[in-house]
Symmetry: D2
């Protein structure tokens, strides 16, 4: 595996980190791999480690080349800058398909919270679009407590297949954010999955012992099923290894 | 275990079948059990075997006393008759709590398709309400092809915790039926889970080799996760054995 | 479903309880079902409820017609009486194949502890043999503390495919009992599975909230995987529904 | 994450590759991590890619710092050279505990086939011992077809907790290799797990779509459960994050 950090433009904090598995002649089926672009959450104020490399490791294990984007934050997060960052990242990923052993038609994006907002902006209005979208507890509507106020993404016909997960008990980013996207996808006949888990609150990431102090609650393990569900869904939507 | 068939009223086809596990002193934690009332689907034209005893066996294994209701069908399915059947069933179950080793405050109802419509009517407007509601691919809106046209259930404040599952690819009963209920629950602040799976179509029941000829498709196994998800959810909502 | 209790011979305590699912034209693949004969444990002093109906419910859910045998106990447990009981039970099950919608070539037997001893006696030396054998924490060697001393089963060429599970930490019936059988099967080239789990002790049955007071320990959930493993194994060994 | 390649001694092919996750203040519980040393198989003739980085990615996801050892092969594989390689690797890993954010008392080793032979030599006779041992289809006994003939490892009192997996249908390295180790561990009262799966043959690695062309066979999915079982077992044996 090779790890590469790439500055996308003038802002030195906007960085794409690539985790690239080298192909092996012993595993012909995976010489060319699908890709996963990861957009961590953090209210456009920071990019949380809890939704970055630990997520990359999950999809690397599933055979994806992974990319974490540290996008424009705080005063620099005024739109369309974060969207431009993500478009640049996605374009760069596809352009480097040979160097990174990638199928450019099988690039998914996953975002969490504010990162899910950005992922949805990219997937619904980007000049460059992913082939599949995964959003975890997406923050679309304003959150007055933290002056969070960003453009509302609107599903269009080019929006790719989408997978949504959320918890009902999320009081910080209510479940209606997830339902808003599901309703929009349904209206535009974009195939989607939505998995709303009853308990857990906001920002649980993987819901396991690596990212949470409290993870033995059976309802956290229940929530943690989102990851396996997402992999099964990706297997159908991207057919990552022509399976 | 004892199996009992009970005629609920004059219509000889309206029958409640009870599957009652006898308590054992060796298993103190389960001397008193939760209950599951099962309403099979079939467009109010029949009650499908694919959503009856096979479902009862699943929840029996999880420690539930199970009850299958064959409700009023066809010309007798004019409302409120099916609702009355289900109210009578639920009332009878709670009344027999001692004979059937039941906690009357832990009675869930599960319905499929038209049975999910009936289950939702019971849970949102019944004079007797279940303590938890599970609906599989619920058919709320009219289906002109089969002259299916029944009252639309409307969530109220007394509606219990709800678990919804559906497939996006269901062309017979579109996913907007499931979203309709999720949106209503969200508006009334009733905690819910919704699990929409991308593939599979209508009426998959358990999605396994017992009810389907084609079940090795990984997406059917994906869909089949609804059952385990429902059990985990029930464990929190009902705390069936004070766990 | 029909539940039938059958006295096997003069001893009124030797009873076979049959749990028979009625076939449905809606589920053609399961009109004819495999069978599971269950031999609970209890040191030949009693038949434990914790390894009886709760086990039957598990395999019923998987589509098996289930049979619990209360075999000869205490002073009546002198061999070969229990073996004769189990031969009679197996013969009766196969004889009633039409009445009970059974494939007589797909009858497995599962036993626990002393019941696993009996199941192994039946599978290795019975005049009537099951088509597959499952043994949970089998008690082959004498246990002086309880005057437990029964004939040691010896694998022969007619012994069917076998699935063994045990916990290493079982101090009452040590793991060498399980290894004894595995070694014997290997020598006779009988295909087998063995799953020894590190923790848990003796007599855990399903290892879930229905049979244990303490089940949230992750190592108990780990142990509890034996059931799913057994079902997957049975699917190959018996091809219960020609899958 | 940082990837580092370290030459262990004169032989330029003996290389330790370290995959090191950088700690994050956001995830206090995992600032210090357990380690996994991976010994791929290949009959001491090569180190298979199918049992190297793909395995590292699995345990990285579970929070382990991972290390792949390319040990001495072919004419250089005469004992004790491979054992010395692995001792050097293990010593180096523990020595670098600060640099690599490691708990030196929580270093497991996993080996496959010939790599499992080496892992067992290390765990039963090494001057430096791992804290836990995992062996997949270990090749202890000679294999005349490929002139494979190496010292037989013998369990001693210092051997750590061990987890064994194998398939019964392995005709290249028969299951008696796995039973040999299990019997030895039992005699020395070393806690162990053994999981023998019926079907699949030799060298299946993870048993998934990344390493196999044929993986949809339900029995391969059955076999593939070894990985989750190993993680659950490690959680108890190493308590990697004091859980």
């Amino acid at each position: 595996m090779i790890i590469e950090k790439i500055k996308l433009h003038d802002d030195p904090n906007v960085i794409l980190t690539a985790y690239i598995q080298t192909p092996s002649e012993e595993m012909k089926a995976t010489m060319i791999k699908p890709g996963m672009l990861i957009l961590p959450g953090g209210g456009y104020q920071f990019c949380s480690d809890r939704e970055a490399e630990v997520i990359a490791l999950c999809y690397l294990k599933e055979g994806y080349q992974c990319f974490i984007l540290n996008y424009s934050l705080n005063e620099k997060s005024k739109y369309p800058q974060p969207l431009i960052d993500s478009e640049m990242a996605l374009r760069l990923i596809r352009k480097n398909k040979d160097k990174w052993y990638l199928d450019p038609g099988k690039i998914a994006v996953i975002g969490f919270s504010a990162g899910a907002h950005l992922a949805t902006m990219l997937a619904t209005s980007g000049k460059e679009r992913p082939n599949a979208l995964i959003v975890g507890y997406p923050a679309y509507f304003p959150i007055p407590e933290i002056n969070y106020d960003y453009p509302l993404p609107v599903v269009d016909e080019l929006t790719p297949d989408t997978f949504i997960f959320h918890t009902y008990s999320d009081s910080f980013v209510p479940v209606r954010n997830a339902l808003y996207l599901a309703n929009g996808l349904d209206e535009h006949k974009i195939p989607f999955e939505i998995h709303v888990f009853r308990d857990g609150g906001h920002g649980l990431s993987l819901g396991n012992n690596l990212v949470l102090d409290e993870f033995e609650d059976p309802m956290i393990r229940h929530y943690a099923r989102w990851f396996v569900l997402s992999v099964e869904w990706l297997n159908r939507v991207l057919s990552p290894f022509n399976q």
